[in-house]
Every structure is written in structure tokens, then in C-alpha cells.
Symmetry: none
Subunit: 190 residues, 4 copies
Amino acid sequence: MSPRTKQQFKKIRNEKIELIKNTALKLFAENGYASTSISKIANNAKISKGLIYNYFESKEALLHDVMFDSLKDFANALVVEDINNIKKKEIIQFIDWSFNTLKSNPEFYKLYFSLAQQGQIIKLFEEEMHKVFGELFEKIIMYYTQKGEKNPFTKARFLIAIVDGIGAHYLLDMEGFPLEETRKMITELI
Amino acid sequence: MSPRTKQQFKKIRNEKIELIKNTALKLFAENGYASTSISKIANNAKISKGLIYNYFESKEALLHDVMFDSLKDFANALVVEDINNIKKKEIIQFIDWSFNTLKSNPEFYKLYFSLAQQGQIIKLFEEEMHKVFGELFEKIIMYYTQKGEKNPFTKARFLIAIVDGIGAHYLLDMEGFPLEETRKMITELI
Amino acid sequence: MSPRTKQQFKKIRNEKIELIKNTALKLFAENGYASTSISKIANNAKISKGLIYNYFESKEALLHDVMFDSLKDFANALVVEDINNIKKKEIIQFIDWSFNTLKSNPEFYKLYFSLAQQGQIIKLFEEEMHKVFGELFEKIIMYYTQKGEKNPFTKARFLIAIVDGIGAHYLLDMEGFPLEETRKMITELI
Amino acid sequence: MSPRTKQQFKKIRNEKIELIKNTALKLFAENGYASTSISKIANNAKISKGLIYNYFESKEALLHDVMFDSLKDFANALVVEDINNIKKKEIIQFIDWSFNTLKSNPEFYKLYFSLAQQGQIIKLFEEEMHKVFGELFEKIIMYYTQKGEKNPFTKARFLIAIVDGIGAHYLLDMEGFPLEETRKMITELI
DNA sequence: CATGAATGAGGTTTCATTCAT
DNA sequence: TATGAATGAAACCTCATTCAT
């Protein structure tokens, strides 16, 4: 039992933090944020309650970090080569990415949809959300503008709304919902 | 000195039940079901906690009744004159009705969207939801079938999903979201 | 609907009082005093809660009156013709009476046994109990004294204790318990 | 800074569990199960309400564990050397043990007597009770059978009933009741 | 005499958080 | 770093009692 090096400590820290966040995301998504207790998270992760408070200031801070992680991925999801000439293919790639992560990481979306309407809680990561979705939104507006659409703003709002709508309904019935076919329908709309 | 008549009692009952349900709906929608305490509802309605339990067996029963009321309205929203010949106009009227009630009664939708992803809670009114949305869904499938669409099922799913998507995004930003224009876009899609 | 006479009112009063006391006794015996709510009694008797408070000051007062009624019967149960010459037959008749009422009115005994050990509650009818059981006890002591027993006090205590023991066990298993045969055993002991 | 060892935690747990059970038994016995609140138990034990729920799932679970503990002692109280030849001395030793624990641990008996008549609650530890008292009862039947009694079943029922009767009356008047002398009377009956 | 709406104190239970080790 | 005992506020709920009619 030689003393651990700083690096070892750091590794342990990071592993534990990931474990806690993943467990929290899973349980928040399954049962809702308010109905998931810190105890449940600790039990599920097979650690103690106290340890969670070593890494996160509060339950709210944990939720924030959980959401932040997933939101970060969005920031880089709509890659645009030339901002002055956004291509349809790039938009479609973004939609595809969204649907793929919806399938591979449904927990985040479930949590997002269940919290989205709750003012108090959404404030915890309002800033990040605005930043990420704002940028995304801007690019789509620009795309439609460049395409010569009359109402690029409305078009962009519409596109994002229906992607979310499809996502939400897919999560409500993952077996029955025709995700691939609706994906194509959206693609045709763009 | 004679006791109130049965009618008088019934009137009091019904008024208080309405008061409680309306207050509950408002608060559930604002802050979520789990985060809304019975105390808050009582304070907001200016009655005692105990009275709520005079009229509702539990917090869950209250939620059930609140949802049930609004769900009932849906049952009659898509009026079809001839089931063997559903008209485009009828579908559009339903969409219009949905958007109008979204504006006039946003609380129900907020609550619906925030609960939709939570299996445990949705079970409270699963039966009603299945009945109402099931019938709605059937009619839309029939409409597309009668129109000769190749994938009426997918089309129907798609339509409902994007209506929900628009609804959700409208609620997230009631001032900024272009509801009227997106409504037209949907209409064109049908 | 001519106005009721005073007698009619009195009759209604008495009938209602009996109804309430009987219902209360039944429910207290079944589920315990503390676990029986005034509401349950009202529902069971098909009257309103308020009416109970018309006739009884409080739940405790109701319990008192319920117990008092049954206790009164005890007062006259051990009939003694000549106090200076109590006969064995008279004692046996009392035992018989006890066992008969045990069978015909088990509720009172159940309630009595379940409350007997609870100091706070027993105080509600301590006075009556002392009076009734005291007199009873005195007579049995006298009987044993007249018979020339060395320890009449102990004998009396013993007799009452075992009658209660038999009673309690009979109530615990009314079908299986050999009441008649144990009654004979007691009779032989006297 | 290292966490307490498992043994240290176990010791703390066990001590607190004992403290809570002892306090609960005392208060349940004094005022009855239903009339004893968790708050009272916590105050009496000088701990917080919450801690009780760390160790017991519910008030009912606490009652169960409290009863279970005491019932276990009964299981070994009637020691029989040769099951085919149960001796009078062994029965008497059991009676003696009963009376001694009645004096040293009256709380359990008080609680037992006050709950015995309440079906709902008794179900919490019905299984344990049946096991313990069933075995006891069997042995006494066998004893009377081996002695050549005509009605060993009735005799056994009678014996247990009167022991309980004596116990109950002793608890009602611990100073005045002649426990020693009634004990002898029972011994003579066997 | 009779009703049941209404209250509020107090009951059981949950849980985020703290802290000694 | 890690544990889980401990707290206390607040949640859901019950119920004896009051009172206007």
C-alpha cells in the first residue's frame, strides 16, 4: 500500500465523478429529477451518500453537471465548414447525429424533455442551454437565409421543434415509433 | 337551523373541487408535479391542507383527476362526419383546436409534456390517455389511408409528433415562438 | 309533518344514542379504540359526524359511555341472597353469567381486554370499574371467608384472574377454544 | 480521516437499534401501540425521528421487531429433556420462568395483552407467535397425554389461559396482586 | 335534530445535507 | 478518499372537533 500518486488520485476522482454522473443521469431519466434521491444514486452506484457530496456541492449541482456534459456535445454537433455557405448536407448530418444520439443516449433526452417545462429547474443550466441552442439556432437561420427563404427564423424554429417532437415521441414508444421513416420525412422537409 | 340541502352541499363540493383542481393544475404546470406540495396548493387556493383530502384521496388521485378533466376535452376534438370519408378540413380543424387550446389552456400541456416521459406517473391515467389518443390516432391513420398514402401509420405518427413538438416549443417561449406561422406550415404538410 | 312531541324527540334521541354506542363498541372492539375514527363510526352507523357530537362531548366521552353501559351489567351479575351466607351456587351462577355474556356480547370483553393495560385510557372509567369490580371482589372474598379458606383474598384474586384468562383466550380463538369444558374446570375449583 | 471500520459501524448500529427497541417497548407498553408516536419514541430516546427510519422501515416494522425479540425468549422457555417423558418439574419450571420474566420484563407482557385482541396488528407477528406458542402448547398437551389425562387438549388450553389471566391481573396491580401465592395455586393444579 | 364542509394539530415518512471518523 | 450515522425541515396524510346552515 504505497501512497498513491497525485495522478492516481486524479484518476480515481475522475472515475468516481463519471460513475456518479452516469448513475444520476440514468435514474433522473427513469424516475424524474425530484423523485430520485441522493440515496438511490449512491446505492445504485455502490458508493456512499457522503462521497457524492465530496464531488458535488448539492443535488442541484449534480443535475447541472449532468446536463452540462450532454449539452456540450450539442455545441459541436452542427459542424459548418463555411459559415457563409452552409450546406444542406451539413444540416442533414446534424439531424442524423441528433437521431443517432437519441438512440444511443436516450437518457439525456428523457431528462431534458421532462425538465424543459419547469422554470425553476431549467434555470440551473439556462445559460449553457441558451448558448448551445442559440448557436445552433443561428446557424440554421443562416442556412435558410442563404437558401433565400422568406421566413428563415420561422423555418428554423419549425425545424428544431419538429425534431424535438419526433424525439419525444420516439422515447415514449421506442419499439413502435418509426424513427427511421420520420427521419427521412424531416430530411425531405429541409 | 335545518341542515343545508343536498343540493347546497353538492354546489359547495363542486365549487371547491374545481378550485382545488384549477389551483393544482396551475402549480403542477409551473413547477412540476413532484415539486408541488399539497401545502402550496392549499395556500394558493386559500384553504386548509385537510380540505384537499376531503375531496381527493391522495396527491396522486388529485393529479389523476386534473389530467382526466383535460383529457376528456381531447376525446371530442377531432370530429369526423363520415368515418369512411374523413376530410382534410376536419383534420385541420383539429389542429386548429389544438393550437387554440394550447394558447388558452397552456397549463395542461405543460403538465402533460413534463410528465410524459415518466412511466411511473403516467400509469395513473394511462387508460384514459390510451383511449383518447388511441382514437385520435386511428382517425388520422384512416384519413391518410383514404387519401391513398403509402405509409399512413408513419404519416400519422409524424403528424402528431410535430404538433407536439410545436406545442412544446411554443410553451418554452410563448412570446417569441411563431405559433401562427408554424401552424400554417403544418397545415400545408397535411 | 306535524311537529313531533317531546316524547317522540326523546325516543329519537335514545335510539340514536344506542345506535352510536353500539356501532362504536363494535368498531372499537374490532380495530381498537385509537384506530377507530369518529368518521368510521358515523359511516358505519349511517349518520353524520356532527350528530355524534350532538350526543357525546368527545371521543373519550363516547368510549366512557360505551364502557359504562356494559359495566353496569356487571354490578348486578353476582346476586347474593344473604350477604352473610353466600352460596356456592350463587358464585357459580355468576361465572355462568360471565361466560354467557362472553358468548353473546364478545365486543365488550374484547374492548376491555385491549384497553385494560393502558393506564391513560383506563382512567376514563376507572371509578366505575373500581366500584363494580370492587363490590364483586368483596363478595367473593366474603364467600371464601365464610367457607373458612385460609387466604380468601388470594383465592378471590385467583378466581377472577382465571375467569379473565379463559375469557381472553376464548376471544382469541372462538371456534377452537373449549369454553364449556374449561367452564366446568373452573366450577370444580371453586 | 479514514472512515470508521465496518465493525465500528456495526456496533453503533446495534446499540442504536437496541436503544430504539427498548424505548419503543417501554412506551408501547405504557400507552399502547397506536397512541405512541414515533416522535415520542425519538424524544424519549433522545434521538431524531429520522434516525428511527434509518433502522426500521416503518412503525409497524419496529413493533414487529420489538415483539419478535421477546417472543424468541419464549421459544426456549419450556425445556424438555425427553420428549416422550415430560416431567412435571419441567412444566413447573416453565411456569416459574414465565412468572419471573413477568416481573423482570413486564413491558412485553403488557404490550402482548393489549395487542392480543386486535387481529389487524397481530398479523404483523402472527407467524412467530404461532410457531412459539404452538410448540409450547404441543408440549403441554403431550405432558397431559403422558400423564393419562382424558382431555389433554382442554387441560393444556386451560393451563395457558389461567397463566395468562394471572399475568394480566398482576400487571394491572403489581403491588397488590399476590403473584407468589397464585403461582403456588397453579403449581398445585398441574 | 342533522349535515358535512372546514380547520389545524399532529401523525408517519422521506430526504438533502452534515459530520465524525 | 470514503463511510454511513445523524439531523431536521418538510413532505403526505389523518382525524377530532367546530360550525354555518
